[in-house]
Amino acid sequence: MQRKHLIALIAILIIAAMALAACGGQATEAPKPTEAPKAQPTEAPKAEPTEAPKEGGVKPADEIVVYNWSDYVHPDMYKMFTERTGIKISEDNFSSNEDLLAKLQGGATGYSVIVPSDYTVAIMIEEGMLEELNHDNIPNLKNLDPEFTKLYYDPGNKYCVPYLWGTTGIGYNTELLENPPQSWEGVFKAKESDPWYGRMTLLDDVREVFSAALIYLGYDNNTKDEAQLQEAKQLLIDAKKGVAGYDTDNYEDLVGTGENLLAHGWNGDFLQAADEYGNIDYYIPEEGGTIWIDNMCIPKGVTPEEKLAAEMYINFVLDPEVGKMLGEYNYYATPNKESLAIADPDYKSNPLVFPPPEIREKLRFIKPLGEFESVYQRMWDEVKSAQ
C-alpha cells in the first residue's frame, strides 16, 4: 500500500516536470487552415522567378500560414499569390493584439507571417520574438511611402512592413442622429437630454478608451502620470451611466441597425458597415483620436524555407496592384505610394480613409508601457466594476 502511493507520487512528479519542460519549449499547435487555396502547386509556376532566392540553395516552403485579423485580406489575394509563386497559403485568425501576443508567448508555432499593430511590434521586437527581414528578398519595399520607413517602433523596416493603417474615432447613425457631438465632451459628459445618452458604446479596450479620455483632457495618451490617469478614470466612471456597453466586436452593426446612435470604433469597420447599411458616417472628434498601423512580420522559429516564402508573400503584398486591391476592399489606408498612385479616386480622396493633414496632426499612437500597463488595467477594472 505504502509503496504504491510512493510510485504514484513519483509518477506525478515526473510527468508534471515533463509537462513544465514542454511548456517552456514549444507546444506545437497545428493552425487550422481557414482558406484552402484552389490552385495546384504541382504545376510549375508560370511567372518568371522574379523573386529568386538569393541565399545559397534555400528554396521557399510549399505552404505557409498567415496569422491575421479576420476579414483582413482581399478574397482573391491568396489565390493570386499561389498562382504566381506556387506557394500555398492558409490563414488562421486572432481577435486582438493581446490574443496574438499571448498565443505566441504560449509557444504556438507554425505561423510564418503575423499581422500585429504598431505597439505590439514594439513589444515583440523588445522580447526578441521577430526575425529580421532580408530586404534582398523584398525588392518592392521601395514602393512604401517614405513616411512608413521611419516608424517609431521599427525605423528602416528591419522587422516589419506596414500592411494597412487606420484611425479610431466615432461612427454614428445618420438617419437617427443629425448632430453628433463634435467634441469628446459629448461622449464623456453626455446629458440625459442628449439623444445618444444610453445609446452609445465605447471600445472594450483599455488603452483605446483611456486614450480617448486622456486626449479629451488634453493629456498625453501614453501618460505615466497617475494623477492624470485618476482624472481620466473618474471621467470614465461618470460617463458610464450614458454608455450602453463596451464592445469591440459588433458595435458598427448596432449603429447600423439603430440600436445605438453612435459608437467609438475603427474607421474601416464603420466604412464597411456603411456599405451594408447605408446610414453610417465617421469622424474624428475635434480633440483628436488614435492612429494605428498593422504590420507584416515573421515570428522567430520559422525554418529558412518558411522565412523565404514569408518574405516572398510580404513582397507580393507590396506589389502596387495587390496593395490597391487590399486597401480598397477593406477601406483602410495603404502605406504603399505606388498602390495609391493607381488607386480609385473615390478611395484615394476619401478623408475618412486618408485624413487631411489638419486631422492627421491630432492623431496619436498608443505606445507600449511595460509594467505600467498594470496600472491602466487596474483603473480599467475599476471603471468596469463601478455601478
Binding site: A16, A19, L20, S96, L101, G258, Q377, D381
Partner: protein
C-alpha cells in the same frame, strides 16, 4: 504476459486506468501545478514570468476592488444556482413521472440546445433582449403595453438570465436520474401511513433526490462562478466577474503571475464553498 495479466486482476485494473490517469496528470494536474507555481513568481515585462519568489500577487488578490468582484461573482453564481434549481426541479420531476415511452424523447429535447455552440446561443439572446431593437421591447412597445423600453440588457438580470438558460439542462439531468430511480412503493408506504402528499414529498422524495440536487447545483455553480463570456456579451461588458478579471490579467495587463494567483484563490474559494455545501446537505440528509 497475458497469463500474468489473467492471474493479477489488479494489474488489469491499472492498465485500464493508465490512459485516463496519464491524461488527467498531463492535462489537468500539470496546468494546476503551473498555475500554482506562477502565483509566487514575478511578472515578465510583457507576459511570462521571472523566476523570483514573491508573495505580492497573493497580497494583491485581497485588494478591495478584486475582493468586491469575488463577492459579486459568488452572488451571481448563487442566484443562478437557486433559479436553475427552482426551475429545474419541477421539470425533472415532470420528466421522471412521464410515461417511460415519452421520457427519452423529453430528455433528448433537453439536450438539443447543446448541439449549438454556447457563444452563438448567447448572441441569439441579444436579438431578444436589446434595448431599442430587441424583439421583446419592440413588441411590447408596439402593443402599447410599455412606453419606455425595459432594461433587459447590459445588467445583472441579463447575465443571470443567460447563465440560467445555459446551465438549466445540467441541473435537470442529475435530478431526473435520481427521481427516475425512486421506488414508487416508498411513496405508497408513506401514504399508507397517512402522510399528506406534501409530507411524503418532504420526507421521501426530496431526501432521495438530494444527491441529484447536489450534483446539479455543483455543475451549475462552478461554471457560473468562472463565467466570463456571458458578462461580456449579455452584461454589455459593463460589469466584471472574476473570470473577466483573470482573463484581463493575462491579455490586457500581461501579468501572468497575478492572473495565476487570482485563479488559484478562486479555485480554493470554490473548493471551500463546495465542501461547506456537501457538509450541509449531508447533515440535512441525516436529519430526515
Amino acid at each position: 504476459m497475458t497469463e500474468r495479466l489473467r492471474r493479477h486482476p489488479e494489474l488489469q485494473a491499472w492498465l485500464i486506468l493508465a490512459i485516463p490517469v496519464i491524461f488527467l496528470l498531463i492535462f489537468f494536474m500539470a496546468p494546476l501545478v503551473i498555475v500554482f507555481v506562477y502565483s509566487f513568481l514575478e511578472r515578465g515585462k510583457y507576459g511570462g514570468v521571472e523566476w523570483v519568489f514573491t508573495l505580492d500577487n497573493i497580497r494583491r488578490v485581497f485588494d478591495p476592488l478584486y475582493f468586491k468582484t469575488f463577492v459579486r461573482s459568488f452572488y451571481i453564481a448563487i442566484v443562478t444556482t437557486l433559479v436553475t434549481l427552482i426551475l429545474g426541479y419541477p421539470l425533472a420531476y415532470f420528466i421522471a413521472k412521464s410515461p417511460p415511452s415519452r421520457r427519452n424523447a423529453l430528455v433528448f429535447a433537453l439536450m438539443i440546445p447543446f448541439w449549438t455552440n454556447f457563444l452563438i446561443r448567447t448572441y441569439a439572446w441579444l436579438t431578444l433582449l436589446r434595448t431599442h431593437t430587441g424583439l421583446i421591447n419592440v413588441t411590447l412597445m408596439n402593443w402599447g403595453i410599455i412606453d419606455k423600453p425595459l432594461p433587459l440588457y447590459g445588467n445583472d438580470f441579463a447575465i443571470i438570465l443567460g447563465l440560467v438558460y445555459g446551465w438549466l439542462p445540467v441541473m435537470v439531468l442529475p435530478i431526473y436520474a435520481a427521481l427516475e430511480r425512486l421506488d414508487e412503493s416508498l411513496l405508497e408506504a408513506a401514504r399508507d401511513l397517512y402522510a399528506s402528499s406534501a409530507k411524503a414529498f418532504r420526507r421521501v422524495t426530496w431526501p432521495l433526490s438530494l444527491p441529484g440536487v447536489v450534483a446539479g447545483s455543483m455543475l451549475v455553480f462552478i461554471p457560473s462562478l468562472g463565467a466570463f463570456v456571458t458578462p461580456a456579451i449579455l452584461g454589455g461588458g459593463k460589469s466584471l466577474m472574476i473570470g473577466n478579471i483573470i482573463s484581463n490579467q493575462f491579455l490586457g495587463a500581461h501579468d501572468w503571475p497575478f492572473g495565476s494567483a487570482l485563479s488559484m484563490v478562486m479555485m480554493i474559494a470554490m473548493l471551500i464553498a463546495t465542501l461547506i455545501y456537501f457538509r450541509w446537505t449531508k447533515k440535512s440528509e441525516d436529519v430526515t
